[in-house]
């Protein structure tokens, strides 16, 4: 999404008839419910109905680390400008949770609308809001749903109420419900009844008094809505993954759960057999062990985890680096340390993974910032792992992985699968054998053979302890040093192969911003705010991989001040850059951090940069 053609945000537009001033397609809706109450389908219908009306949307699901009973909030941002970062202010609240209702109302932006369950009696808390009481229980009961499903159906009632109050096209709501319950006709009817019950009640009883409305646009034509974990799973499938091992952990579980669904549908051969293996391991130690075993034996192998799992994988990660074995590890980051806030987002695994394991270890990280990149890097990671013969870490996060994002449809991978330097029996015959860890081509990447290669010279001994070029055990100082220096050179080769950063702006501003991953979306919006509010034009470079490519050095070199925006306490990207940059450049870097577990929003970035720039 580019920042061109913007108008001032949040300004009510006068109604030609002289009625309430309207704010069209630029506000946020929050639904406060109880975890486990089945509100997900209803929220999804709301999101997708607006999306299908051509209006850009994004959603953030804020859920507790709990199965049922605790408060949960789902926020939909509607933005005709296409801004999809979290918006801190809430304009429309649907209050379904008695435990939090008071607090939720108190946290609203002035002028907000509150759709609430009538018995909560929220209308006297503040006088600067618009209130819409709705007898949800009565309306749900009237749908004829039995007691068991009434709780679920109640959620669909608020979809109908919101549809009327916000002018969401009922035709699209109905189509969306039908698509969502495509295989369950009875459920579809029941849910549609509930939507209508809410809609009819609102039409007959509630008078629109707030300014928030949705109008048709055509800004979402051809786009898809998908979460990053599904996108990563798709990437892995199209990468030709054959061995998948995992151990459940939020927020990474859905990578493999969705991958299982995809693979069962699209990777079963004519005779009914799978051309893949997916194994739920006993823990993350085993998950990465299986990845390395499979990678060593020639499979495209992967696992998905988050921070606590990465902690357990440390020893094997070092092994994979030193013994030079391909494998892909998706890390869907969440807060830490330890179990931290298990269902909140962060970008705080960077420095840990960069050197994961003891001794001198360096890992390649791919850092997607969009769902499309989750797909693309999901493919690229496997090619790089085999090309570089090393574990590749893909660092997504909870915000990207588990929330729904709009995107251009993904492109079919045109580049053929790259298996890297693997010698066949025939090639071994021609070259007369090989030395497993010899730098033949000057790129520090050696050749390997796969177990089962039918040639007496094919075998070698893989070990995590000292080895020479021929993979023979050695404790000789020069052998160790040479090997370690080659591995460092291999990391330099990686620098030339990983995805390059993306530059936005003219490249001629004094102030630069560096961000990566999901911080991207807040930065996009913030650059617009900085320009409008503080007349501060900026250039922006989005990093997409580690090791850093030369463009990143150039960007810092050509700007006076560079703000590094990230979602962790310790300025981890900032610190990695400091290690990598020429010492004369380091003082140009300034840090902008956000680490409260919520996705970063534009205002946080804008205020921090404006303050440091001395702007108003």
């Amino acid at each position: 999404m580019t920042s061109s053609g913007l108008v001032v945000q949040g300004q009510p537009i006068s109604d030609p008839d002289g009625g309430v001033k309207q704010i069209v397609n630029d506000f946020s809706i929050q639904i406060a419910t109880v975890n486990g109450s089945g509100s997900q389908s209803a929220n999804n219908v709301l999101l997708r109905s607006i999306f299908r009306m051509g209006v850009p949307v994004s959603s953030k699901n804020l859920f507790p680390s709990n199965i049922a009973g605790l408060p949960t909030w789902y926020t939909i941002r509607v933005s005709r400008y296409g801004w999809v970062a979290r918006k801190a202010d809430i304009d429309v609240l649907i209050a379904m949770n008695p435990e939090t209702a008071r607090e939720d109302v108190l946290s609203l932006a002035p002028g907000a609308a509150v759709i609430y369950d009538e018995p909560f009696k929220l209308n006297e808390i503040r006088s600067d809001l618009t209130y819409y009481p709705v007898p949800f229980d009565r309306l749900a009961a009237a749908t004829g749903a039995d007691a068991k499903v009434r709780k679920l159906v109640k959620n669909m009632v608020y979809v109908g109420v919101a549809a009327h109050l916000l002018s969401i096209d009922m035709e699209w709501v109905e189509k969306t419900v039908r698509k969502q319950f495509a295989k369950k006709v009875k459920a579809a009817e029941l849910n549609l009844n509930a939507v209508h019950a809410g809609f009819d009640y609102a039409v007959s009883t509630l008078t629109k008094q707030d300014p928030y409305v949705i109008e048709h646009m055509n800004a979402t034509d051809g786009k898809v809505i998908i979460d990053g974990n599904a996108a990563a799973a798709m990437g892995a499938m199209f990468a030709g993954v054959t061995v998948v091992t995992w151990y459940p952990i939020t927020p990474s579980s859905s990578v493999v759960e969705q991958l299982i669904d995809f693979m069962k549908k699209y990777r079963i051969e004519q005779d009914g057999k799978s051309n893949f293996a997916i194994v739920q391991a006993e823990d993350e130690l085993a998950a990465i062990g299986m990845v390395l075993g499979a990678g060593w034996a020639g499979a495209r192998s992967m696992t998905a985890t988050s921070g606590p799992g990465i902690s357990l994988m440390a020893e094997f990660a070092g092994y994979g680096y030193y013994a030079e074995i391909p494998g892909v590890i998706f890390d869907i980051q969440r807060t830490g340390p330890s179990t931290g806030l298990p269902t909140r987002t962060s970008q705080a695994d960077l420095t840990f993974i960069a050197g994961l394991s003891h001794g001198d270890t360096k890992h390649v990280m791919l850092i997607p910032g969009t769902v499309k990149e989750c797909f693309e890097f999901g493919i690229e990671a496997f090619d790089l792992a085999e090309q570089l013969q090393t574990p590749i870490f893909v660092l997504s996060d909870l915000d990207l992985g588990m929330n729904s994002w709009m995107s251009e449809p993904f492109d079919y991978p045109e580049k053929p699968i790259t298996r890297g330097k693997v010698l066949s029996a025939q090639q071994l015959e021609e070259v007369g054998g090989f030395a497993r860890y010899k730098d033949v081509d000057g790129d520090a990447i050696p050749y390997r053979t796969l177990p089962g290669t039918d040639h007496p010279a094919a075998s070698y001994f893989t070990r995590g302890s000292g080895h020479n070029e021929k993979a023979l055990y050695t404790e000789r100082p020069d052998d160790y040093e040479n090997n370690m220096l080659r591995l460092a050179r291999k990391f330099e080769t990686a620098r030339t192969l990983v995805p390059k950063p993306i530059l936005e702006g003219t490249g001629r501003q004094r102030v630069g911003i560096i961000a990566f991953g999901t911080s991207h979306w807040a930065v996009l919006e913030s650059r617009d705010q900085l320009e409008r509010e503080s007349q501060l034009p900026t250039d922006y470079l989005r990093i997409r991989a580690y090791p850093f490519t030369s463009e990143i050095h150039d960007f810092v070199a050509t700007h006076e001040r560079v703000y590094v925006v990230e979602q962790n306490r310790d300025s981890q990207m900032f610190n990695l850059l400091k290690i990598d940059l020429d010492p004369t450049q380091v003082t140009k870097l300034h840090s902008v951090r956000h680490f409260n577990g919520l996705p970063i929003d534009a205002r946080t970035v804008t205020d921090a940069i404006a303050a440091q720039e001395g702007a108003e």
Binding site: M234, V243, S274, V279, A281, M290
Partner: protein, 347 residues
């Protein structure tokens, strides 16, 4: 008849290879270490069974024992992994290429402590491989601490007495679902060879606990894993006769007789052929017998349990016949239409 002398040709196996083709590197373990003898038996067994060395993956963890794959079958592919986590690596490797034979060498420390988590899961998955514990009751490589298979009351060289019960890896393996479980003694050439050959022919997890005295840290008075102790206490459930389908092996003595087996240190071991009617398909009986002999302070050897019916892990997963590792892109990357279909579902 002419009497022209013939130069004896070196003995070759059914695929035309000599025993030399199954040799490994020169051992760096202590002279007399039980692990070396096991390597020799493995070399012979694979030679005699005529397994192509290039078709073998040698897996191991960390420890003196885990080093030993370097000392047999150099032409095989070897993965000396990290401490206790060979089972996962071996599992992954077999998922990638289920057409390979896999043999894993571990130690009692490697398996019964740090590796216990992965070990039991390997067993319950029935991963098709031979898993050998070279069991000396101590940590060799870290110089002599107790392992979890050390018997209660046994003594370290330093005089420290073990006051924790031993984990019986065989009883555990039977309970967890391994489909071929046995125990042998590194010095018992005949029994070990026979069991190994049968193991090579088995499809599923073979778990062999091979008592393998550590001459450096555990061959002293008071150790229950010493040569001397083993000679005095070993009791066999029966002579193991294995008849491969391509080569007949003669059973050398009748049931209910005894035989003296020469140990590599020169002493001999008296094996008794017990329980002629021993039924290796009865889990409960096998476990009970292990418990009983253990209570008597005896070391039972032999093959305790076999199940040839249970599907191994790779067949449970219903994978294609070819190795996953080398499937071409045409089979592993779905078509454009598939991508379009998924995109449509998300529109």
């Amino acid at each position: 008849m002419s009497t022209t002398p013939v130069t004896p040709r070196p003995k070759t196996n059914r695929i035309g290879l000599q025993v030399l083709d199954y040799r490994g590197g020169k051992t760096t373990l202590c002279a007399g270490c039980g692990h070396n003898v096991i390597s020799e038996r493995i070399t012979e067994a694979f030679f005699e069974m005529g397994i192509q060395p290039e078709r073998v993956m040698k897996m191991s963890g960390i420890g003196c024992s885990s080093k030993s794959p370097a000392y047999f079958m150099s032409r095989s592919f070897s993965f000396n992994s990290v401490h206790g986590r060979m089972p996962s690596v071996a599992t992954g490797a077999l998922l990638a290429n289920k057409t390979m034979k896999s043999i894993g060498i571990s130690g009692d420390g490697d398996t019964a402590s740090i590796g216990m988590g992965q070990f039991v899961h390997l067993l319950r998955r029935n991963v098709p491989m031979i898993y050998i514990i070279e069991d000396n009751g101590v940590y060799g490589l870290t110089k002599g601490q107790f392992s979890a298979t050390a018997d209660i009351g046994s003594k370290l060289k330093t005089g420290v007495v073990n006051d924790l019960p031993a984990i019986d890896t065989c009883a555990l393996a039977i309970q967890m679902g391994a489909t071929f479980v046995g125990r042998s003694f590194s010095g018992d050439k005949k029994q070990l060879s026979a069991i190994l050959k049968a193991a090579i022919a088995h499809q599923g997890t073979v778990m062999l606990d091979v008592i393998s005295p550590c001459v450096t840290f555990n061959d002293h008075e008071g150790s229950t894993k010493s040569y001397k102790y083993m000679q005095e206490h070993e009791e066999s459930v029966g002579e193991i006769g294995f008849v491969p389908h391509f080569e007949e092996i003669e059973v050398e003595y009748d049931p209910n007789t005894t035989v003296n087996v020469q140990l590599h240190d020169g002493s001999s071991l008296r094996l008794r052929k017990l329980h002629e009617d021993y039924d290796p398909t009865d889990k409960i009986h096998a476990t009970k017998m292990l418990m009983e002999t253990h209570a008597k302070g005896e070391v039972l050897t032999g093959v305790f349990y076999i199940d040839t019916q249970k599907p191994d892990f790779t067949s449970l997963l219903n994978m294609v016949d070819e190795p996953l590792a080398t499937l071409p892109q045409e089979r592993t990357r779905p078509s454009r239409e598939v991508l379009a279909e998924i995109m449509e579902a998300h529109s």
